[in-house]
Structures are given as C-alpha cells and as structure tokens.
Symmetry: C2
C-alpha cells in the first residue's frame, strides 16, 4: 500500500493476481489493510487538503504532467504487468497508457487555460454597484476524494485514471482503493503518483492507495467523515452499496458511480438498406472488441423486421462465429458472463443466432449474438451481460421501436444509424435516455476531450449531472462559491 | 389549484390563511388535493416536456418576461394579499415583487445570451479529426420539476420564485406545491403563470400548482416516476424527508433542499477596535430585519473577549432592546421561535443580553441577543432559531475562534469583519464552511445576479454543488450531454 510517502504492507487477507489466460498466480502477495490504514490515509488527506488546494492551477498542472511523464517512463513495465493481470492485448494496453497520460495532460492544459472553472478561476463577476460590493463566483474543491477503479481499464479507470486525474486537478487529495484484479499494476502506478507528489514538494497526504475488501475497507473509506466525494466505476451492486453508505452518513457526500449500460443502437430501415453488410461487420467488431468488456459495449440493438434485417443478422452471425474469443479479466467475470448467456438461452423468446469460438484461456469469453421479437422483449432482457454478448430486438415498425426506447433504463450512450424523419423522431427520445448520442459509428471507444460526456441517467450512473471523462469531470469534485467584497 | 389550464378545487382538508398580525382568518377556503390531482399534474407535465424543451431559448426568454410582466401588473394586489397573509411590511413585499420579476428577467437575459449553457447552448466542441466525428457538449433539461416554496418569501421563493424561474428557463415543466401560509398569494401568482403559458402557446402541462399536505401530497409528487428533480426551501425536517423519499425511489432524482443556516459572522479585533459601535448597529439591524426570518440571518457571531467586545455588545443590546418587534409569518413559527429562545435561556452557559419589545401582533417576535463563552459553546447551540435571535460566542483568541469555525456545520454564508493575517487565516476555513463568503457587510440581502451562490455544504443545503439564486441555478435542472457526429 501507499500511504502518503510510506510503503506499507497490510496485515489482513492476502491476494495475488491471476493471469486469466493461464490461471497462473502472479506474485507477489498483497495484503488487505484495515481500519488503521483507512484512518491514517484519511488523516493525511485531510491534513494535506488546505495546502494542496492553495496551490496555483499552474502548479497542479505541472504535477499532473509529472505523473504523466512517470507513467510514460514506466510504459513497458506497466503494459507487461497489466497484460498478465488482465489478459488484455498488449496493443490495447499500450493505447491505454497513452489514454491515461493524455487525460492527465488534458486536465493540465485545462488548468493552464483555466477552462471550465478548473483551479479556482473566476467564473463570473457582478461588479460593485447600488451600494453593494463586487460579487465573484469561483469554485472550491470538495475535499479528500475516494476513487474505486474498474477492472476493465487497469490504467485509464484505475489508480491514475479519470477520477484520480479529475480530483487532483480540482484540488482534492485522493485515496484510491486498488482493484484486486490488477494489484501489481496498481502498485506500479501508485508508487509513481506518490513519487510525483514528493518531487512536486506537495504534502504527502495528496495521494494514498490501499488494498482491501470493498464491503469493509471500501465502505470504511466512504463513511469516513474526512472524505468528501467518491468516484466509482464497476458493478451496479457495488455502486449502489457505496451510494447508500454515502447517503447514510451524518453528512452525506456525492457519489459518482458508473454502474451499467447496454448502450442501445437503433438501426433504421434506410441505414440497413443502404449499408447493412458494412454495419453488420462494424457491429460484430464493436461487440467482440476486448471480449466485450466495455461499459459502452453495444449490448442491445433495435431494428425493424424484414429482409434487410435478416441479411444484417446473417452477416453479423458469420462474423461472430468467426470470432476467436478472448480471455476475460478475471475468472469471476468469465463465470458471470457464461451464466448471463445461459440465462439468455433459456429465455423462451430469445434465439441464439451465433456463438463465437472457445478461446484458449482459462477465463475465456465466447461471443454471443441473440435475437428476440419485440413482443417478447422485457426488462429482464435489459440487464447488462458484461462481455461480448448482444441482443437484437426485432420491431414491427418505427413506432414500436420508439415505444421500447421510451421504456429503457438510463444509459451511457445511445446510437442512431439512419436519417430522415425516423431519426428526427428518435433523437429526442434518446436525449432523455443517455449521456452521449451517436449518429453513426459505434459506442465503444470513448474519446478523451473537452466535450466528452461519459455519464448518463440512473442506473447507468448514480448522478447524471456530471461526466467521468472529459474536461467537465474536474467540476464534479468542486462546488461553486461566491466571494462578496472579498479583495482579489 | 391550477392544473394546466384548469382551475380545480380540491376535495380534501380545507385551509385558510391567517393574518399573523391579528389572528384573523382570511377567505377564501382552499382545499387540499390528493392522488388524482398529483397524477393529473404529473401526466400533463410529462406530456408537455418534449414540446417545452424543444422551444428555443428566445421563446423561453419571452415566456419568462411575460410572467414578469403579469406580476408587475398584479403588484398592488399581490403586495396587499401577501401583506395580510405574511405580516411582512408592504415596502418589503413591494421589493420582493421586484426581486421576483428581476429574477425572471435575469434568466430571460441569460437565455438570450445563452450564458452558462442555459437553453441548450453548445458548451464546448471537440472538432472532427483522427477519423473521429465532431463531439459537441450541450445541456438537456432533466424533466418535470416539483417546487416547494418557502413561507418567508411568499413571492421570491414561492410559486414564481427562484426554483420555478430556473426550472422554466432550463426547459423543465414545473409543479408547485403551494405554501399553506400564503395560499391566496399562491393563487394569484399561479393563475398569472398559467395565463402566461396559455398566451405563449405552450402546452398546458408546463405549469401546475397544487394545495396539499407536505407529508402526503408533497411526498406523492416527489416519488412520482415522471418527476425528475425537486427544489425545496424550508425546514431541515421537511427537507430531509423529501431527500430521503427521492433517494428511495426506484430511480433516485436530485433534490435541492435549502434547509437551515446560522450564518456565522467573525468579528476580528481590528474591526471591533476601529468601528465596533457602527458594527453593533448594523448587526442589530441585520438581526432584527423582517423579524429575523431570513435564511441568511446572522444567528451566530464569534469575537475575541475584551473591552472592545463588551462595548460592541453594550451597543448591540441597546439597539435590540429598542427594537419594536414584528409579527412572524405564522403562529407556528412564532411558537417555535419563542420555544427556541426559551431553550437558549435555560442553557447553563448562555446569558441573555437583551430582549426586544413585545410587538402588537398575535404571532409576534421579540428579538433576542445572547452570549456564551467559547468553552460553553457546543453543537446544541448551533441549531437555527428561526427569527430575530442571535448568539455571540466570546472567544479567548483567534486560535480558539478558528478551531470553533472548523467544527461548525455547513452554512449558506460566512462573514469576516477585519483584515490582516487573522482574516487571511480565517478565509480558507470559511471556504470549506459556506457557499458565500462576505468580507465586510452582513449576510441578509441576497443580490440576484450572475455570480451569486445561495447554497452551501450540508446541512445548509442537501447539495452544495449548486445554487438557488443567480444564473447558475438554471444548470441545476439540466445535465450535460455529448452529441457525437450528430448534424447541427
């Protein structure tokens, strides 16, 4: 564990990483921390807060750049370790290092240009007048932030991932609960961040990282009175437990939990007629990418029945059958995926159109493509099956498609293929459904930029008023404040 | 009641307004609505939402201006009725009409200039590139909003008050639960808004107003699945009940509850030495203004012991003793105030320095000034006593003052009088405490402008990341959304 500038070993339960390709245990052993470590990390974070938030945006920008520089320097080691721990391909993880450092540098740039109120910029001013003094609006950081990383992005949504970068940019100390599925990657990144804190001359409590059990150590962090906000990416069960614990505190705090999404795609008739085969190939590609382990995986597709849809499904089925499969992140995730597909198979209305090949991995994912008639579609088929599985809903017409869209749960993304009046009718429905609307393209692949929104209505996230990716993420860890007559 | 374009009478419990000056019942009788009215108002709001949010910012600006125009036209009638219902002075209510219309016009101006993302403006753009399409960030309104007005601002925080204006500006239909203490004022304003909806050619569900019991009709509104956000100003008990009900929904929604604040004022030694007498007069004025019935009333003052403080207290005591008193908003509020002051009197460490005169009113408020030594100060003395009561905490020195400030609950405002190093040390502590920091001046009197923040950490409000006054209030009823490749 990393507690401020100290390297600490826990005394609790021991975990080791497992290579999901081979089932091999990867040393070393990591031991869980307990109340003492939580208390120490929170005390240091609280102690560091005032000094850290008093840093200038330029100083914080330099600090974020320094973290990015350290990760660049570690890229080979990181990719190697993350590959063994996650089973994700090297190329993907190389890209993920770049995404992680790109995110840190994006926020550093935002701080330098004081975009979006980052770093205590003055957002608006009412000049003195009518006997009243000047009023300036700025933003203050919330306080120490706890970040729970995700298994599926061992770098970009983990120790130095989006929430950590945003909280540090905002002026908040961060305590990360390391993910059990990639403890070694966490250690490498955690040490790098801690070194960057030291080299920047910042107080040690700006960053800590603990190993521990979610329901005990995780909840202890969330309920510590010194913690002022929580970022989480993971399962709905865990996200809701965290949100509940935070709401039950004597002083509740915001929780940004990204939980689940099936990212509906709407294939309109014109698109299927014009470029059905091409779309089918893209669909299978988006669906099977990284064993489907993306929060933006296209898990649900709506299209109108007919020969164009039949042709689309035929082409997509062939592509899915040809998919070689891939290892999943953990044996537990592979098990949950297999059970999810079995449940789907047993559903009376669902037809399995294609299964991919069985991969050569202990924890492997066989892709699955299924279809159901709209009349047989129900909420039980909306549940995310994390992995390369997607369900196509055959609709009788546009009206039925729109009616089904209206009934869906909140989503991270919603995608339209097609145009004209059908698209125009669908768009406002999707604006109520999702945090990001795509017109063409596929939802996997979240661009890290100023305008991105990676969030959406409940239960995609616990708070739709924010994003976990993009410049606006910095504001989730700040609040507005007015200075009345306060000298500049 | 106003349900869309219909005027409806309820069939439940009957209420009448009471003139708190005389105890006289004021006709007519208003009857509570029930589930049927809640269902009808919510159905209309949901029906209206898509069409209303599709209006242009310019159309919504014209609509807000039209409401303001109607209130201007009604000003005399409104002031007369509100004076009888609230016991507040005519001059104050005349000012409140102007504040209410000013707020509507401020937001109309924001919509026209598309400030702060109001009205679906594009907030940021990542241009197309690297094979990826353009991504634009905008804001979409959340959906139908329920507004609970406050008793102490029968216009500016009621039917067409801040939350209603902000929600309408944001593109959300509004359902107001009318306040029992000023039902006639509510009726006048509710009808005016409904007429403005009709004249603007908007769908009738854009605005409804119901009379009803908070724990039944109020909670039924909050838990209706069509409602997507709640604005509330009132007591902590009611605010927390609403927040709990909203969090317990199958799909939780944001609640913006402004609940209670004692608005600590810190009198530093230099300020007391230089202009103690002047400050004492201002303090007594701020404290007794409107019978102290302001959420920004200075209920708690911290100062360092000594002859300057003694002189300050002597002058303030004289001013408070000379205060003629005033009627309070309702007999219930007057009773709660009297009980609060009695509790304070019974507290072993508290000394009552002065009581104001007994006013000639059934529900009157006698001002109270009390003091306590810092050693005897505890959380039980932090509870807001709604009315013209304030407690001065005598500190041994600046360190003790700062230590006490650190331990306070979240506040709407915090005020410093004085300068130099003591002020510089205090400022960062207050930044963690409050939504608005004043350097000089007194917290009563919230300027409606672009930069105002009327909000603050829990329990001052249930959500510190927003404001109920000022341009930023529009955003509380919107969420960010990204459009990827969507044609403009």
């Amino acid at each position: 564990m990393v507690i401020g500038f100290e390297r600490v070993s826990g005394t609790g339960h021991a975990i080791t990483a497992i290579d999901p390709r081979t089932g091999e245990r990867l040393g070393p052993e990591y031991r869980y921390g307990g109340d003492a470590e939580v208390g120490r990390a929170c005390a240091l974070a609280e102690e560091a807060f005032d000094a850290y938030r008093a840093t200038s945006p330029q100083e914080r920008a330099a600090f974020l750049d320094a973290i990015a520089g350290k990760l660049d320097g570690l890229a080979d080691v990181l990719v190697r370790r993350a590959t063994s721990e996650s089973g994700l391909p090297e190329a993907r993880l190389t890209g993920e290092v770049a995404r992680t450092t790109g995110q840190l540098r994006l926020f550093a740039g935002d701080l330098r240009s004081a975009q979006a109120g980052a770093g205590g910029a003055v957002l608006s001013v009412d000049p003195a007048g009518d006997g009243g003094p000047e009023i300036r609006q700025g933003r203050v950081p919330l306080g120490p932030v706890v970040v729970f990383g995700a298994s599926n992005f061992p770098l970009a949504f983990s120790v130095a991932g989006g929430d950590t970068a945003a909280a540090l940019a905002a002026g908040c100390p961060v305590i990360v609960k390391a993910h059990d599925a990639h403890p070694g990657t966490c250690e490498l990144v955690g040490r790098a961040v801690s070194e960057a804190v030291r080299e920047a001359g910042l107080p040690e409590g700006v960053f800590s990282m603990l190993y521990g059990d979610g329901p005990t150590l995780g909840i202890a962090l969330v309920t510590d009175p010194r913690v002022q906000a929580v970022g989480f990416t993971g399962s709905r069960t865990a996200g809701l437990a965290i949100a509940k614990a935070a709401a039950g505190r004597p002083r509740p705090i915001p929780v940004y939990a990204e939980m689940s999404s099936v990212n509906p795609v709407f294939l309109l008739e014109d698109a299927l007629a014009e470029r059905g085969a091409e779309l089918a190939g893209e669909y299978a590609g988006s669906l099977t990418l990284g064993a489907g382990q993306f929060c933006t995986n296209p898990g649900l597709v709506f299209a109108v029945k007919g020969t164009d849809l039949d042709a689309f499904l035929g082409t997509a089925a062939k592509a899915v059958e040809a998919d070689p499969g891939a290892p999943m992140l953990t044996p537990g995730i592979a098990r949950a995926y297999a059970e999810g597909v079995e449940r789907l198979e047993r559903h009376p209305g669902v037809e399995i159109l294609a299964r991919g090949r069985e991969p050569d991995a202990v924890a492997g994912c066989r892709a699955a493509l299924a279809a159901v008639d709209a009349g047989d579609f129900g909420p039980e088929l909306e549940t995310e099956i994390f992995g390369a599985c997607s369900l196509v809903v055959r609709c009788d017409g546009l009206d039925q498609m729109i009616a089904l869209a209206r009934g869906l749960e909140g989503q991270l993304t919603a995608t339209i293929h097609g145009g004209g009046e059908p698209a125009a009718r669908l768009l406002p429905v999707l604006e109520r459904l999702a945090g990001r609307i795509l017109w063409g393209g596929w939802p996997t692949g979240v661009r890290v930029g100023h305008a991105m929104v990676h969030g959406g209505p409940y239960p995609a996230t616990s708070d739709a008023r924010t994003t976990s990716v993009g410049s606006l993420a910095i504001e989730r860890f700040q609040r507005p404040i007015a200075y009345q007559g306060v000298p500049r």
